[in-house]
Point group: C2
């Protein structure tokens, strides 16, 4: 008993700000008391392998969400389906609050990034959620059945989607449920909007919004996605970067060749790709593609001020990530992600490790991720990179090279231009609804709430402005060290449970 | 019957030079008549997955060879085992020829390069030998049971080791068997020497040779490995390049990061590796590592003359391989492989294709293959590359970086220095035994025999000179378009069968 009491005290002192309203306190107590059932439902949700493009499993996930939402008494629960075939649906539901004059739409997405299970830590299955006492990199150990009696803040739940963004879906649903079950009501009308194509660039989100426009009228959107500030403080984010991709393949010999018999004479595509990628950035990580930074609108004075006020976490981050010198010297992280970026998501040629063999590979490939800021047009940004590649002497095609093309050109590259790109979006911090959201979140914590002009990450939030004439504010809840998009994705349970409290407070703003 | 007769005529006209000795003719007839049984045994041999370092399967392969050699009446068939544990043995056997004054050792190796089955053509299993009517890239189709009655020259057998170098092992054994079974005898004493560690750099070959020195006395070695000339002509090769490797890993953040939240600020290891690799060669493929070409001894006048006399296959090769411009402009293939080389065998970071995700990977890795020519020392050559890497600002380590190292250095690279490297070897073309071997091979063909000063490939033949004071000459038999070391390795059956004839002629020189 002694141990349990101590642990409970520890949990509460971590969470409870010294002063708080009764409402926040009641919701937090409810969540505290129902951690086991909330967690158990979350684990079931995570065990459905709903990665982007896997429509069959995304539909299973959608069915599960319909069931969960109806169980919570949410009205008009339904699938919003695109007219295009085989598109994972949006899951919609709403709550009409008597007397309320404003409507908020709460957004999260239920699809996750692709997984390469071989890259996950030994024993981890991306679709068998597994609890550890802490992050693996902080030497967390597996949680056994006996420990489950007291579910702790520092525990991590490992699974694809654990933080990005099934946590968001579950936190929104539970925020509403916790309000109601602790004897309270929202003060606004609520609409639930859970997307299934975010991780592939939301190619049909516009189509679905257009189709269901009357249903999707609101005063503002709350986007629950992404991590809180690296300081651990809660954070509100007023914009997102745009995103676009390029898939590059350069060619060597038509068949793989013995590196002894032909090395030095037949060009090696891995070297060609290395030279091409190297030409895109200087040694300080500054992009050398002509005009790459040209269209970016500089930060406003208010945005610069907000960035300056955020806790300085750079030393902490560099230590945690094992980095001595960052790119873009002289720029803070916040300033760096306020610029358009170019990142190599992956590159491959031939084999490495135990499979390596003495060969000249037939091709070499890389995937580039371009992030955009206000002022950038995503197609123009892609074109700048393509023009740069052409300027390096490449003949650009969109198919495997024909024999004729091979014999006519020194350097051939296939570029697959991602059609699912989109532009950045930014909501002004002085928008009145934004000010009320800030206030609602501040109510839940005694530490400063960090206000970010923009996330480094991307969501197609421009659609909300363009098609619905509404504005979004992002309320992230995940820990920043969540490995989202990569192997060993995880959520810190304290973040998940406290996220429910944050969202419930917004529902009562 | 008509078809069969035509095919037989075709086979014979392809093979039979207009003038030949009775011996060559008798051996060729024997091989022609026994293609089916020779092929069937070869297929059984190929179906044992004997890739480098897989000691258990290499021992199974050795057992099979013991069985085959004893069945052919070869004497003293035995395993030559290193004192070091877990080393695949050499398989030895010999034939004492009454009255013979000279002894030749016939060398081949029974281990193959590693395989990545996923890279092989659909339906091909590297260890289920499969016949096609021609090379896959020449639109070959699978051979069915009915067609097996007439085994054709243009057929290809696909399997790991099909050409490199189980074909060599089988051709040597069958050359002796064909001589005897066509009623003839060798004119020299023969020793059989089949190695099991060639594809990992023969790290214990020296140890085995030292241990069995008395057994391994000879006048010369015949090395059956590698491809014939690209013109299809038979070829003798008087040297090999040396070989050494470097395994490079550069580091990014300790855990994979979301490319949106951190891209532009946390250095991307794929970009760092690209920049490093790009720094090693200029745009013409000339190596820019300081002093890389310095120690190489230039070709002699006789060697230059031999190169100039070889059929010009560059246009044909460039067309077949789909290459517009070769590296090292102004140099022929023969001249290019007479220089030391640096090849990227493979490189990898993050994921590409359907598994690509928006992340900054934690590391990027590449495997470099260095080939050496006479004058080069393999450790010095490795060191030149390491010094080049240091000159690019890298802190070089041989382990995963510690947290302390990460925080002290901008650029960290782990270099695994392969210990199994070795130097080049070259036998003078005017060595009397070499002249007799040339004569014996010329007897088997009416087209010119190509004399190459050196193969581009590598074998640790320096050991034969250093430890046994003997000299080797290489007699390759495989087709040049055999994909050795890569996916879809194959042998053209005409090459395999005619290789038996070539080797039998040398046994009777």
């Amino acid at each position: 008993m002694r141990t349990i009491t101590l642990v409970l005290v520890f949990c509460f002192t971590t969470f409870l700000p010294k002063a708080q309203t009764g409402t926040v306190s009641a919701v937090r107590s409810f969540v505290q008391q129902h951690r086991d059932t909330i967690l158990s439902e979350f684990e079931t949700f995570l065990s459905i392998p709903s990665i982007a493009k896997d429509t069959a499993n995304l539909l299973r996930t959608a069915d599960y969400l319909l069931h969960v939402m109806r169980g919570r008494g949410i009205d008009h629960v339904q699938l919003l389906e695109a007219d295009t075939k085989n598109v994972p649906p949006v899951i919609y539901g709403d709550i009409k609050t008597p007397g309320a004059t404003q409507t908020l739409i709460f957004y999260a997405h239920y699809d996750g990034q692709p997984v390469n299970p071989a890259q996950w830590a030994k024993g981890l299955d991306p679709f068998q959620p597994t609890l550890f006492s802490n992050a693996l990199y902080k030497n967390g150990t597996p949680i056994d059945q006996k420990q489950l009696k007291i579910i702790q803040d520092e525990w991590r739940l490992y699974a694809r989607g654990a933080s990005d963004d099934k946590a968001g879906v579950m936190a929104i649903i539970n925020a509403y449920a916790a309000l109601v079950q602790s004897g309270q009501q929202p003060t606004c009308n609520i609409k639930f909007f859970f997307e299934g194509e975010e991780e592939r660039g939301s190619p049909h989100l516009g189509e679905i919004i257009e189709k269901y426009k009357p249903l999707l009228q609101s005063d503002g959107w709350i986007i629950c996605d992404g991590p809180v500030h690296q300081s651990g403080n809660k954070q509100l984010v007023f914009g997102v970067r745009g995103d676009a991709h390029l898939d590059l393949t350069v060619y060597g010999p038509k068949r793989p060749l013995h590196s002894g018999h032909y090395g030095n004479w037949i060009p090696n595509p891995a070297l060609l790709l290395a030279q091409l990628l190297a030409s895109m950035k200087d040694e300080n990580g500054r992009i050398t593609v002509k005009g790459f930074y040209d269209d970016a609108i500089p930060l406003s004075t208010a945005e610069k001020k907000a960035l300056a006020e955020a806790p300085d976490v750079e030393k902490q981050l560099k230590e945690e990530l094992g980095i001595h010198k960052t790119d873009m010297p002289g720029l803070s992280l916040g300033e760096a992600i306020s610029l358009p970026s170019l990142n190599i998501n992956g590159m491959a040629s031939g084999n490495v490790g135990p499979l390596a063999s003495n060969q000249i590979p037939t091709n070499a490939t890389a995937v580039l991720d371009l992030r955009l800021v206000p002022g950038n047009d995503w197609r123009k940004q892609q074109q700048k990179v393509i023009d740069h590649i052409k300027a390096q002497g490449y003949y650009v095609i969109d198919h495997e090279p024909t024999d004729e093309e091979r014999l006519q050109h020194d350097r051939i590259i296939k570029i697959i231009v991602d059609d699912d790109g989109y532009n950045a979006q930014r909501t002004p911090m002085d928008w009145p609804l934004a000010q009320r959201i800030i206030k609602a979140v501040k109510k839940t914590t005694t530490t400063p709430v960090v206000l970010q002009p923009s996330s480094g990450g991307s969501l197609p939030l421009y659609l909300i402005e363009e098609l619905l004439n509404a504005k979004p504010v992002t309320v992230p809840i995940a820990n920043y060290d969540n490995n989202q998009h990569a192997e060993n994705e995880n959520i810190r349970l304290g973040n998940f449970f406290e996220g429910i409290v944050t969202l419930a407070s917004i529902m009562q703003m």
